[in-house]
């Protein structure tokens, strides 16, 4: 039969690492990427271009941004700001901060752990949290390999928060700045266990690739020094000549045969209006959470009229994201010199993630990471003056001139709980420029999540005050429905009645279709997602190789 063994849809973080694994097998692979590919020299340290104008994020992903509503009684609307994901080989990881933490072992059975510790009443019926069908031990070998692939820089964190490690990081932590040291000491005085944030950023030259120079334009921009652990086309081809990469080709649906399994995909090349058919024995969807779920909905047909993988009406359920927040401190008149560096040149505090603190009297479950970071992006952070300064005028100007330099920040994100009534489906009216319906997010808010956010903000204030901040303030809680940390929609679990994918991230309804990325996650966790997305993608690719051989 003509065609490929595997077609990979999307060459972002998940798609590149999966393709790299498939390449070792000699299987015939076609990897399709909707965007193009960049060289290090394409990335200008220009914040107006990158962060304000979204030079890297204004492509396909912005044009098909989902609509949002809080409940089914309302009409979903397009949110005013963008999603920050991007289209290119390497994916959103190109302009990410590349913090690289493993999930704590606790997270893999969060539901059971919570019920065992606090009793049945701890989870109200609308919180649809579930255990993962994989364990920390299942994922560890892939975490290990991944660190070697990217040349991750770090130091072993406290084992009770980040799990046991058997190998050292291939590179030492990113340089410790003055602010990093100040916050490390403060966290220790508070009885916390701070550690250098592990990062998929090379602290020294590694594997023929560059090292970080702490340029201060890391997030929202690609790395001019080629220090970020982002795979390029040549990294995924392997040595057996069996992988083909095609950029500027977007997949529009998964094609299925009479038995309901996939026979290939339909694609449209940039600038063309006609569709092409690619035949393959298996399909790996790695187009990021929203597009993965949208493609499954758009692939309705034949024996699956309401979407591929949706035979039990589970597609699109249990969606959640992370609520991002900042706590700020003013270090009265001192030059903090946090302008330069990377946001991952940071100190991590994991005390308040997962269930590491006793939640008995806290009124919420969950938590998240706290990081005291470098890279105070001028234009972004100039929008965050303390309430005492005012947002404009003479007070604001005085703050800009005298105190902005003395401001430093802690970043945190709270894990949202999945909601029983949340759903990702196709919007009945809004379409993208190709006339295809965009995804519609229905996401009721939970009091739990606002409390969790407020609690993390409080810890940020306490940390900054301990470090000597004379004034502290923080960004308000607001949900990030359109997020580069988005989870659920194709939940993985062993029971086909309540899950879209199995423990290999493979559709229960179509055994030759895999879904890679946050869409399969049963919970959002409070941790940076990419290492786990990548590790699971490697695991799935390995499984597929066995299935096809």
């Amino acid at each position: 039969m003509s065609g490929y063994d595997v077609v990979v849809v999307g060459l972002g973080a998940a798609g590149t690492i999966a393709t790299r694994r498939l390449a070792e097998s000699g299987l015939r692979v076609l990897a399709l990427e909707a965007g193009g590919s960049y060289a290090s020299t394409d990335f200008l340290p220009d914040q107006l271009l990158n962060q304000r104008r979204g030079a890297l994020t204004s492509g396909k992903t912005a044009a098909e941004m989902p609509t949002v509503r809080r409940d089914v009684a309302n009409v979903a609307v397009r949110p005013p700001f963008g999603g920050l994901t991007m289209n290119a080989v390497g994916g959103t990881k190109i302009h990410s901060g590349n913090g690289h933490l493993r999930l704590p072992p606790w997270q893999f059975r969060s539901r059971s752990n919570l019920l065992e510790r606090y009793g049945e009443q701890v989870l109200p019926p609308e919180i649809s949290l579930a255990d993962w069908p994989v364990t920390f031990d299942d994922v560890v070998p892939f975490y290990d390999e991944l660190e070697l692939v990217h040349g991750v820089s770090g130091e072993p964190g406290p084992e009770r928060f980040v799990g046991p490690r058997t190998q050292p990081y291939p590179n030492p932590p990113l340089r410790r700045s003055g602010y990093n040291e100040l916050m490390t000491a403060a966290a220790s005085r508070l009885g916390w266990t701070p550690f250098a944030t592990p990062a998929a950023i090379r602290s020294r030259p590694y594997g023929g690739r560059g090292a970080c120079t702490y340029c201060g334009q890391c997030v929202f921009n690609g790395c001019y020094a080629d220090a970020k652990g982002v795979l390029r086309i040549e990294d995924v081809l392997g040595s057996r000549g069996s992988v083909e990469v095609r950029t500027h080709a977007r997949v529009t649906r998964v094609l299925t045969g009479s038995d309901g399994t996939a026979t290939g995909v339909e694609i449209v090349a940039d600038g063309s209006t006609t569709t092409e058919t690619v035949r393959a024995r298996a399909v790996m969807l790695a187009a990021y959470t929203y597009e993965n779920v949208r493609l499954l909905h758009l692939s309705a047909g034949g024996d699956h009229p309401s979407g591929l993988g949706n035979s039990t009406d589970q597609l699109g359920r249990h969606f959640s994201t992370h609520a991002f927040g900042f706590a700020f401190g003013s270090f009265g008149g001192r030059e903090m010199n946090t302008w330069t560096g990377s946001m991952s040149q940071a100190v991590s505090v994991e005390e308040f993630n997962a269930d590491h603190v006793d939640h008995t009297d806290l009124g919420f479950v969950g938590g998240g990471s706290l990081l005291a970071m470098m890279e105070k992006l001028t234009m972004l952070m100039a929008r965050q003056p303390p309430p005492s300064a005012g947002r404009w005028g003479e007070g604001y100007k005085r703050w800009l001139a005298e105190d902005f330099r003395s401001m430093a920040h802690v970043h945190f994100w709270a894990d949202e709980m999945p909601h029983r009534d949340g759903r990702l489906d196709l919007d009945p009216t809004h379409v993208d420029p190709t006339g295809t319906p965009v995804l519609r997010i229905t996401k009721p808010l939970l009091e739990n999540d606002a409390r969790s956010f407020a609690y993390l903000a409080e810890q940020g204030h306490a940390w900054l005050r301990e470090a000597g901040a004379s004034e502290t303030w923080s960004s308000p809680y607001h949900p990030f429905d359109i997020s580069p940390h988005a989870f659920g929609g194709a939940r993985m679990g062993d029971d086909p009645a309540t899950n879209v994918t199995d423990s290999w991230q493979r559709l229960h309804d179509a055994a030759n279709v895999y879904v890679l990325g946050g869409a399969t996650w049963p919970s959002s966790t409070g941790t940076n997602p990419t290492p786990t997305i990548e590790a699971l993608a490697m695991r799935s690719a390995g499984h597929l190789v066995e299935e096809l051989s």
Partner: protein, 151 residues
């Protein structure tokens, strides 16, 4: 944008990030020109709403003080602005003013790095030393624009 709108815009932007005896502000950094450029370019879709907002502000000044917004005292300008600070056109102007004060000068704002120097931002420093990442000492000014650095 007609001349009177341009004058109103400059007056408003000058109060959002005012210059004073201690340090230069939006005018010295070329922010009015930058904002006008953005409203004619990247944010062209917002221009009409901003101009309408500026005119309503001017009307409010004439009602309260009998003269154009441009001619009332700074303190009175601030009062008039405070009354509209939740209006979308005000938000747009504030966002663009911050952009214009702190962007890479190659975009027309932050003229001669004035904004960067006011806040103590060192400009383009791609390879800061360990010293330059310590607390306490101003690290000095690096490059003025990405166009001056070779990547």
């Amino acid at each position: 944008m007609d001349t009177s709108s341009q004058q109103l815009l400059a007056a408003v932007v000058g109060r959002l990030i005012p210059g004073d005896a201690a340090s230069p502000g939006a005018h010295e950094a070329g922010v009015p020109d930058f904002v006008r450029g953005e409203l004619g370019g990247h944010f062209a879709a917002e221009q009409d709403a901003v101009v309408a907002g500026l005119r309503s502000l001017d009307a409010a000044a004439r009602t309260a003080h009998g003269v154009s917004f441009v001619d009332v005292s700074a303190a009175d300008q601030d009062h008039l602005l405070a009354a509209v600070e939740t209006a979308p056109f005000f938000e747009m102007l504030l966002q663009l003013s911050i952009d214009g004060f702190l962007c890479d000068p190659r975009h027309g704002g932050n003229r001669d790095g004035v904004g960067w120097r006011v806040v103590g931002y060192p400009g383009v420093v791609l390879t800061p030393t360990e010293e330059q990442q310590q607390i306490g000492t101003p690290i000095g000014f690096g490059g003025l624009t990405v166009e001056d650095v070779s990547l």
